[in-house]
């Protein structure tokens, strides 16, 4: 800090504390942030036998007591559901009103997550058997009562459209709404400035898009986002693009335009754009050439001798 430790008075100490800890040493907000003890100390199994040495759980000697007790419970539920089904059928053919549990929007727990839940290690085979059993439970028509039990072993998938970052709309001096966005495809990069003018003219690197892209396919790609949302003549675009070839530049511009349009759209339209594949950056790049081969996939001519 450049201070001399020999001549460090109490005032200097107070000054440094005020600098280093602005809220003071004893403020509640200045307390150190610590993780929850569950995150620091991994879950361990408690001692599973009493003072006399006898284990508590009846399946202790299997080695994986929680796993086998889980399988035991699930099988009991399967048998109960089958018994109920037989009873219902014996009363007479009942129309299938009971809908099975909806599985869309969630997935089974992974093996690692199940291990965490059970606090013991299980093998791949055990995990596969568990999933098979759960699927069997779900295939029975009377499984609605076991919904909570099943949901405990399923993880909800998050809605993908919530991951989209939509920048807020900006306004320039004349009150015209505009937004900017970037796009990339292979080695081409571009930036796009969309203005809500109503002219529909797009200029790329200073030239008109008709001059810059003489090929129809590239112009189709440029107009794809506008055509998809029926906003063909609404926006005025100023784009700068560099790198790549004509096709990748068109692809980069399409992505940038779709991203720039997000600020003008509603949630439903954003979701439909995403499902049309307009918002995903294309990950395909040129595959590298490998040693011992002529190209990425092409091998050298095979000579018998």
């Amino acid at each position: 800090m450049g201070e001399d430790p020999e001549t460090f008075t109490q005032q200097d100490i107070d000054r440094s504390i005020a600098y280093l800890f602005p809220s003071g040493l004893f403020d509640k907000r200045a307390r150190p942030l610590m993780k929850h003890p569950d995150e620091i100390f991994p879950k361990q199994q408690a001692v599973q036998w009493g003072a006399d040495g006898r284990p508590f759980h009846f399946l202790f000697y299997t080695g994986k007591q929680s796993y086998y007790s889980l399988m035991h419970d699930t099988v009991a539920k399967v048998l109960a559901a089958e018994k109920q089904q037989v009873l219902l059928l014996s009363e007479g053919p009942v129309p299938q009103d009971t809908k099975p549990i909806s599985l869309v929007g969630s997935r089974w727990l992974l093996k690692e997550e199940l291990e965490e839940l059970l606090v013991e290690t299980i093998s791949d085979h055990d995990y596969a058997r568990f999933i098979q059993l759960m699927e069997r439970l779900l295939s029975l028509p009377n499984c609605l009562s076991e919904k909570d039990f099943v949901q405990r072993y399923r993880k909800q998938l998050e809605i993908q459209s919530s991951k989209q970052q939509v920048a807020p709309l900006q306004y320039d001096e004349n009150g015209v709404a505009y937004s900017t966005a970037d796009g990339r495809r292979k080695t081409a990069t571009c930036t796009v400035l969309l203005r809500d003018c109503g002219s529909g003219s797009i200029s790329i690197n200073g030239r008109d898009y008709l001059h810059y892209f003489p090929v129809l396919q590239d112009r189709e790609q440029l107009m794809f986002p506008f055509h998809f949302l029926d906003m063909l003549g609404r926006f005025d675009g100023q784009c700068t693009v560099g790198g790549g070839g004509r096709s990748s530049q068109a692809g980069a511009l399409r992505l940038a335009i779709s991203r720039a349009m997000l600020s003008f759209l509603s949630e439903g339209q954003v979701e439909s754009m995403r499902q049309a594949g307009l918002l995903t950056p294309d990950p395909r790049v040129k595959e590298r050439k490998k040693p011992g081969q002529e190209g990425a996939r092409r091998k050298f001519t095979w000579k018998k001798r």
């Binding site: 869309v104 999933i131 998938l157 998050e158 993908q160 794809f224 992505l255 594949g277």
Partner: protein, 225 residues
């Protein structure tokens, strides 16, 4: 630890890898499907929508748009005609073919008597699709080895395979059996018109395949799938 169980289950069906994680779903670029109200959807479509809401989607290819003129069959045909990556040339040839088809049909239309005018199809896209459908084989042959010998066994074909064979025959026919001076689009339009009226070399090739399959009916039980 190896890939997740979802990836593991899907990995069984993958033959070659792609840049996308198999978790990604195919995109749907047609815009009419997104404007349908809730009432018109079947349960399968509703489930599909719910599934799409939680899964990431791949990016649409360069040749696909939401335009009415975008046709997946035509795009496939253009890609098959393409050589050395020259998409502009291939697409140009196809456009010229469709134009020449239209010209020929319109000429026929104007020359036809009043009663016959309604029967002449002037839409080149309709002619193309009908011609391809007429060329598609119903059954194919597979080479199966049994007891040291290879037999040509009649086998059912998937829709994709049938379409592929029809397009391949059309293109090879137009490349090989043409006069040095006729251009590709001319020859292609002639073949397409012939196939539309169920004549021509491509239809003949399809019939030959059918005859071979019929003659090899005895070996049909060699198929195990």
């Amino acid at each position: 630890v190896s890939a997740s169980s979802i990836g593991r289950l899907v990995m069984l069906f993958l033959v070659r890898w792609s840049r996308y994680n198999p978790y990604y779903l195919e995109p749907e670029p047609r815009k009419e499907l997104y404007n349908m109200p809730e009432t018109e959807l079947t349960t399968e479509q509703k489930e599909e929508r719910e599934l799409k809401a939680v899964r990431p989607i791949k990016a649409t290819t360069n040749s696909t748009t939401s335009s009415v003129f975008n046709d997946p069959v035509l795009s496939k045909f253009v890609n098959m005609m393409m050589r050395d990556g020259e998409k502009i040339l291939a697409r140009g040839i196809l456009t010229q073919t469709l134009e020449s088809l239209k010209r020929k049909q319109v000429e026929k239309y104007h020359k036809a008597p009043q009663g016959k005018k309604a029967e002449i199809e002037c839409n080149p896209y309709a002619i193309f699709h009908q011609a391809l459908e007429n060329c598609m084989p119903v059954i194919g042959l597979a080479s199966i080895q049994k007891g040291g010998k290879f037999y040509q066994v009649p086998v059912p074909l998937t829709d994709n395979r049938r379409r592929f064979l029809a397009m391949k025959w059309m293109i090879t026919e137009c490349r090989d059996n043409k006069n040095r001076r006729t251009l590709m689009y001319e020859k292609l339009s002639q073949e397409l018109l012939a196939a539309y009226s169920k004549e021509g070399n491509v239809i003949k090739r399809k019939h030959e395949l059918h005859k071979m399959a019929e003659s090899n009916r005895a070996y049909a039980h060699y198929r195990w799938w």
